[in-house]
C-alpha cells in the first residue's frame, strides 16, 4: 500500500461510514420504516393497555414494552433494507468499486443500522410510555424509574430491537434478496418459535432457546422470566441469556455475510 498525496487521501473507515450514512438518510423508505415502527409499537401497547385490570398483577413496564411484537418486525425490516438495498438496485457495483476492500462497508452498515434502530427503539419506548399513561393510572400500574428491575426491562427493550435490526442486516447481506431475507427473518425470529411452542419437550425447548427470538426475553419482567424458566425443559436462560443468544446470532450472521462478501464475486 502506498501513501497517497496529502491533497488526495483515499478510503478510510470514517469516510465509508459517512457515505453509508448519506445513503441511508437519502431514501424515504428509511424515515417511513422508523415512523412506522414507532407507531406500530405504541399502537399495540395502547391496544393491549385496554385490557389492563387493576388486579392483574401486571407491571407498568411490561405494558410499555408490550408493543415489541410489532416493533421487532419494524427494526427487522430496517436491517433487511440496509443489508439488501445495494443488491436489489445494483448500486453494489458503485459502492464496491469505491471501496474494493468491501468489509468496511458491511461494518459501517452494521453501525448505522444499530444507531438508527437505537433511535427508533427509544422513540417507540417514549411513544409507548406516553400513550399508556392513562391506562396505567386507571389500572394502578406503576413505573418506578428508580427500580433496577423496571429500568432493566425498558433498557433491554431497546437492546432487543437494536439486536433484531443487526440480525436483519446480517440476513439481508447474506441472502441479498429483500423478500427472501425478510421471510427468513420472520421465520427464525417469530414463526419457528411459535411452531415449536405447540409441542413442548427437551429438544423443542432447547431449539427455541437458541433461536434469535429468544432475545424477546429481554422485554420480559423478572416474574415472567422466572415463570418461563420454571416450565422450560430446555436451558434456563435467566434475564440475560436471551440477549446473549440474539447477540451471537447477530455476530454470526455478520461474519457469514462478511465471508460471502470477501470471498465471492460480485456479479
Amino acid at each position: 500500500m502506498t501513501v497517497a498525496a496529502p491533497t488526495r487521501p483515499g478510503v478510510t473507515f470514517s469516510r465509508v461510514l459517512a457515505a453509508e450514512w448519506t445513503k441511508l438518510l437519502s431514501v424515504r423508505s428509511t424515515l417511513w420504516t422508523v415512523v412506522g415502527t414507532i407507531l406500530a409499537a405504541a399502537s399495540l401497547a395502547f391496544a393491549l393497555g385496554m385490557f389492563v385490570r387493576p388486579d392483574s398483577g401486571q407491571s407498568g413496564s411490561s405494558l410499555i414494552v408490550s408493543g415489541y411484537l410489532l416493533a421487532q418486525l419494524g427494526t427487522l425490516v430496517l436491517g433487511v433494507m440496509v443489508g439488501t438495498g445495494e443488491y436489489s438496485v445494483g448500486t453494489f457495483r458503485v459502492t464496491f468499486t469505491a471501496v474494493p476492500r468491501r468489509l468496511p462497508v458491511l461494518l459501517a452498515q452494521a453501525l448505522i443500522t444499530a444507531v438508527v434502530a437505537l433511535a427508533t427503539a427509544v422513540g417507540a419506548l417514549l411513544a409507548s410510555f406516553l400513550v399508556t399513561v392513562g391506562q396505567r393510572g386507571a389500572g394502578g400500574l406503576t413505573v418506578d424509574l428508580t427500580d433496577g428491575a423496571t429500568v432493566r426491562v425498558l433498557v433491554d427493550y431497546v437492546c432487543f430491537l437494536v439486536g433484531v435490526a443487526v440480525v436483519g442486516l446480517g440476513i439481508g447481506a447474506l441472502l441479498r434478496r429483500p423478500t427472501a431475507a425478510l421471510v427468513t427473518g420472520v421465520l427464525v425470529l417469530v414463526v419457528f418459535d411459535h411452531l415449536l411452542a405447540v409441542n413442548p419437550g427437551r429438544v423443542t425447548d432447547t431449539v427455541r432457546a437458541l433461536l434469535p427470538g429468544s432475545g424477546a426475553r429481554l422485554t420480559m419482567d423478572d416474574a415472567t422470566l422466572t415463570a418461563l424458566d420454571a416450565t422450560t425443559l430446555g436451558p434456563q436462560l435467566g434475564p440475560w441469556g436471551g440477549g446473549v443468544v440474539l447477540g451471537l446470532w447477530a455476530v454470526g450472521l455478520l461474519i457469514a455475510a462478511g465471508y460471502r462478501l470477501r470471498r465471492h464475486d460480485l456479479a
Binding site: 500500500m1 502506498t2 501513501v3 497517497a4 488526495r8 487521501p9 483515499g10 478510503v11 478510510t12 469516510r15 465509508v16 459517512a18 457515505a19 453509508e20 448519506t22 445513503k23 437519502s26 431514501v27 424515504r28 423508505s29 438495498g85 438496485v89 445494483g90 448500486t91 453494489f92 457495483r93 458503485v94 464496491f96 468499486t97 469505491a98 471501496v99 474494493p100 476492500r101 464475486d265 460480485l266 456479479a267
Partner: protein, 256 residues
C-alpha cells in the same frame, strides 16, 4: 494504463474470458468490442475487482485494483447506468460516492455541471431516462479526477448531442494523458473516437490494433464495421433471423 494478462474467468464449465491479454495505454482511447456474451463486461468487472480471475492478472498502473488506496482517484468506472437507487437524488448518489474518498461537495457540483445534470440533480434517479442515467454514471466516473477511465457502453441511450459530448470528452481525457477503455457496439462511433480497438469473441482476443490497421487488414473492408463483422463472424453466440427467414433453421445458434 490497464494491463490484462492471460486472463481467464470461468463460471462452472463456461469460459467467459479465455486467456485474454491486451493493454490499454495512457493517452489513448481504447475501444473494446465484441458480440453479446463475448466477455467484455466480465473482463471489466475483473479489472475493477468486482470479480476474481480464475487465472491470469488484470492491473491498473501496475497494481491490482483491490490494492489501490484511493480507487476513485485512480480509476473512474461506469459499468451499468442503472446502478442507482431509484429513490435517491442524483446529487445524494454522487455525494455518497464522493464521501468514501473525502471528495468535496464542490467537486460533486463540478461533475454535475460537466455532465449537464444541473437541472435534475435534486430529482430522484428513478425518474431518469436511460440517457440521464448514463450521464450520472459518467459523472460518478469523473468524481475522483482519475487517470484511468473504464466505461461500459457509455453512449447507450444518449441523444445525438450526448453522443457527440461523450466523443469529445473521451478524446479530451485521452489527450490529457489519461487511459480510456470504452466498450461499445456502435462501430461508427468507435471509429471516430478510438485510437485503438481490442476485439474479443467467446472470451478470446480476435484483434488488437489501431482502427485503420484493422480495416486495412480485412479483405475488402471499407469500414470498422465491415472488419468487425468479418472478424467476429465465427464468434457470434446470439444471432437473430430476418422476418422472412423464419421457416429456415438458424446457422449459428446459441452455444449456451
Amino acid at each position: 494504463m490497464i494491463e490484462v494478462e492471460s486472463l481467464t474467468k470461468r463460471y462452472g464449465t463456461v469460459r467467459a474470458v479465455d486467456e485474454l491479454s491486451f493493454t490499454a495505454h495512457s493517452g489513448a482511447v481504447t475501444g473494446f468490442l465484441g458480440p453479446n456474451g463475448a466477455g467484455k463486461s466480465t473482463t471489466m468487472r475483473v479489472v475493477v475487482g468486482l470479480e476474481r480471475p480464475t487465472s491470469g492478472t488484470a492491473t491498473v498502473d501496475g497494481r491490482r485494483y483491490a490494492d489501490l488506496a484511493a480507487p476513485l482517484h485512480a480509476v473512474g468506472v461506469m459499468l451499468d447506468a442503472r446502478s442507482v437507487h431509484p429513490g435517491r437524488t442524483a446529487f445524494r448518489h454522487l455525494l455518497a460516492q464522493a464521501r468514501t474518498h473525502g471528495i468535496s461537495r464542490k467537486r460533486v457540483d463540478e461533475v454535475i455541471g460537466m455532465t449537464g445534470l444541473e437541472s435534475v440533480a435534486g430529482r430522484r434517479a428513478g425518474t431518469f431516462s436511460l440517457g440521464m442515467g448514463q450521464r450520472l454514471g459518467i459523472a460518478g466516473a469523473l468524481l475522483g479526477d482519475p487517470g484511468t477511465l473504464i466505461l461500459d457502453e457509455p453512449v447507450n441511450g444518449l441523444d445525438p448531442d450526448g453522443v457527440l459530448w461523450v466523443r469529445r470528452l473521451v478524446r479530451e481525457l485521452a489527450d490529457e494523458g489519461r487511459t480510456v477503455l470504452l466498450s461499445s457496439h456502435l462501430m461508427h462511433e468507435l471509429a471516430l473516437c478510438a485510437d485503438r480497438v481490442v476485439i474479443i469473441g467467446k472470451g478470446r482476443l480476435l484483434a488488437d490494433a489501431p482502427v485503420q490497421e484493422i480495416i486495412d487488414r480485412s479483405t475488402g473492408a471499407a469500414s470498422l464495421e465491415d472488419a468487425y463483422l468479418q472478424l467476429t463472424a465465427d464468434s457470434v453466440q446470439y444471432r437473430g433471423r430476418s422476418a422472412d427467414d423464419s421457416a429456415t433453421t438458424p446457422t449459428a445458434g446459441s452455444t449456451r
